[in-house]
Symmetry: C2
Subunit: 198 residues, 2 copies
């Protein structure tokens, strides 16, 4: 039990300890959900005390938001190559992230907590959802501007459908086939055969 | 506290009380999630005792599965009319159900509990996810057999994309626009103009 004197207003003084706390909290969030993640369990797994966790992260919701901001994810692919290939790379990256350590359980717990702790879903959107949607929308719009996919396509809607196909597949089966990204993209943005160059 | 004598192995003896327990548990599942739903809170809200709840539903997971089996949802639309109109009706029905009382929080808590209580997600799939997917797949396949949507379409994939577009939109914004079903369907199955009859 560390003394509760002279609180430095959350200023991190030991980056190693901060990292240990976030790693422990991330694992608990993935395995036990927000409701099952206690400050006691985070402190114990990080080898520290509850007051030390509180001092750094201002309570349980603060720890969870910090975890979301620091999520160890597969970074999004570089922006090079033809738009369709980049769309495919973004969707493959999304699939890889969903398959990492209970990611759908994390999405689930943020949705389950939305009305009590909207800051969790907000942090997740800011850190992951919005950048991915924006990147996918952009490559779809670039494709459109050069004549693909079909000109009735709405980049925002198509991005939502492509991303959503992975959520809905998981909800239906807990299984995301290897070639899902290719097959989903093919439905709305068919790969032009090489021989059809013009 | 009722006496724990002569357990009738879960046989319901008072349908009114069963309904009161399920209604209380449904509300708690929607508002507090599975982790926040205690047998004590269910019993109190239903005006009964924990042993009475246990006797009927075999513990907390049993209550939750019974809630999912009995979810008060908007029933799926009747199977009549042209395939495209039926697809639209199914998607509008799905949207209406997602917008009812914290439904995305319920989906979230089932995903969050998947590894601890897979029977919850399994019950949800059996009761809601699979019938909806099957119905949508069928109308897409019927449309295909009469030349719409485009012949490269894969009914299972398109059904997953259309359903998923609502999940992904919610994850991104918590908002499901009125005309979302129309706009999403239009992307993959354009409405033939009236004048194009042949």
């Amino acid at each position: 039990m560390s003394p509760v004197t002279a609180r430095p207003a959350g200023r991190p003084r030991d980056p190693e300890l901060d990292r240990a706390i976030l790693a422990a909290a991330e694992q608990l969030l993935r395995e036990a959900g927000y409701a099952g993640m206690s400050l006691e369990s985070v402190a114990a797994a990080a080898g520290t005390t509850v007051p030390a966790v509180r001092r750094r992260f201002h309570g349980k919701a603060g720890v969870a938001v910090a975890v979301i901001d620091s999520l160890r994810i597969e970074t999004m692919p570089a922006e090079s190559g033809p738009p369709r290939s980049r769309a495919l790379a973004l969707l493959r990256n999304f699939r890889a992230n969903l398959l990492r350590g209970n990611s759908m359980a994390v999405v689930g717990t943020l949705l389950a907590e939305e009305h009590r702790h909207p800051e969790l879903l907000a942090a997740f959107r800011h850190r992951l959802v919005e950048p991915r949607r924006a990147a996918l929308r952009q490559v779809l719009a670039e494709g459109l501007s050069s004549g693909e996919p079909p000109d009735s396509a709405d980049p925002d809607l198509l991005a939502t459908m492509l991303i959503g196909s992975l959520y809905a597949r998981y909800v239906a089966t807990s299984d995301l086939p290897d070639d899902w990204a290719e097959r989903a993209l093919q439905q709305v943005w068919p790969d032009a055969p090489q021989s059809a160059a013009h």
